[in-house]
Amino acid sequence: MLSACADPKSIEGLTWAVCYLTSGKHIAFYWSFVTVMLLLAITAPAALLFGFGGATAARSPFLPARVFGKTYIAMVRGVPDIVFFLFFVIALDQAIEYVKFLAVCPPGSPSPWQGLEFRVCQEAKVPQGASSEFWHNAYGFMLAVVTFAIVFGAFTANVLFGAMQAVPRAQLETAEAYGMSHGQVFRRILVPQMWVYALPGLSNLWMILIKATPLLFLLGVEDIVYYARELGGSKTQAYEYPHGDWRLIYFLGLMVFYLVMTRLSEVVLGRLSARLSRGQATAAGEAMRKAAA
């Protein structure tokens, strides 16, 4: 807080704007951009991992794994994201507390589900009532990340499943003819070649993931949408910096942010696609070979 900002109602013009834009709430708004980036940075690899697991399970020769993989993909893909988000976060939270309830609450404690309430003993609360606000927020964020990873993992699994099927059968057969085992074919031939087929689908998912981050707001995480609405709403004299309805400006700012994010992603993904096509037995790979020759 700048010293010039001690009495916001007596200042105006540029000083007012500077003070306004550096208020505690605005600083929290700027940090929420980091929250969104962090969500992307954690969710993307986690979803890829879930997706890889799901796809591998779905085409496994072992029946229970195949059933599990296919059920996961079909179930999550079939339920509207918002419904899944609203349901799963509450379910996961209660499941975690229930497991802890079984472990730490004194024996004979009543079941946590009492009519409309869900109530575990103090020791079983996650996070503990006494822990700092940071842990409460971190826990909420963690629930959101897991949910995002499961939802986007299912879509990723479907993309990777398709990509694995798309690798030319001749490639795999050649490897088998060389005497490679099933696992060796998978690791050395299938996985390295599938990425080029997976990339269009994955890049699509990445774009959707970027655009789905405002769902955080729905889950009670104070993200950029929360702050844009909170800061943009008209403010009376009860506030230090009264102003009219500025939501349009704040939301416009968010639109610019998302457009920049998606544009940057497009550039990076374009380069990645070129890199992956090099030397591949695909049309793009062939075109590159001819251009070079």
Partner: protein, 250 residues
């Protein structure tokens, strides 16, 4: 080092089991002067000062949590916080799902804010916040109701013509009308709905409710509650107070 970090993280999550329990107060943070998030990003308003004073008197450590209005009761029940302190009127409907403390604000009037003083309330939809006593009132009295998630949006709806008027607590609307520069006015018609404002508790939390009830009573008895209500930054000198009625049984 890694183990140390992990242990610290676990200790943070599982909390200091020996530390005093913290009572988490849940509020909306969007309804000045009752409660709002100030420019420093903290909960402020009448209920902030009032809640902190109650915790001091009851000898409790309290922390503040904000939650959207429309899920404020379910999230109390699932244990995200322990007390609702959000200008919530005591109604029979809510009594069926949660318990209320005694009132800390006397029943206040609700007012209509519209673009002109001669607005016909039947001529178009009337805005109110979802799940409020005002929304129920509008629906039950032959007006067309449009609901919004936040109080802020109900007022914005009148400004841009989506609704002919908004019905809300008068104390919330007075500064809106005063600062609109004449663009919006309060109608002469006022409604008296609700049975006073109280704290909300889970049905099973009678101990906690007892502590807060005692603290509210003590603030009524020594008159500090009335002084706090009439502060100019909250409800002003003309606000309804408890007066002698609050001192019964002291």
């Amino acid at each position: 080092m890694k183990k140390l970090l992990l242990a610290t993280a676990l200790a943070g999550l599982s909390g200091a089991a020996f530390a005093q329990d913290v009572v988490r107060l849940g509020t909306e943070g969007a309804y000045p002067p009752y409660n709002f998030i100030n420019d420093a990003g903290e909960v402020a308003g009448f209920e902030r000062e009032f809640g902190d004073e109650l915790c001091k008197r009851a000898g409790l450590t309290c922390s503040w949590v904000t939650n959207e209005w429309d899920s404020i009761i379910p999230n109390l029940q699932s244990g995200n916080y322990d007390v609702i302190i959000a200008g919530m009127s005591i109604t029979e409907e809510r009594e069926q799902v949660i318990d209320f403390s005694q009132g800390y604000l006397p029943p206040a009037s609700s007012a209509y804010l519209a673009l002109s003083a001669d607005t016909d309330l039947k001529s178009g939809p009337v805005a109110a916040q979802t799940g409020t006593i005002q929304a129920a009132f509008v629906a039950e009295n032959g007006m067309t109701l449009v609901e919004y998630a936040t109080p802020e949006e109900t007022v914005a709806a009148v400004k841009n013509g989506e609704a002919v008027a908004v019905l809300a607590d008068k104390d919330y609307l007075v500064p809106m009308a005063a600062e609109s520069g004449g663009a919006m006015v309060l109608l002469a018609q006022e409604e008296s709905i609700g049975g006073g404002v109280g704290l909300g508790f889970r049905d099973s939390d009678d101990d906690l409710r007892g502590k807060f009830d005692a603290a509210i009573k003590s603030m009524k008895c020594d008159g500090t509650l009335d002084v706090m209500i009439t502060k100019p930054e909250y409800f002003g000198p003309e606000a309804k107070t408890w007066g002698d009625a609050g001192k019964e049984g002291c």
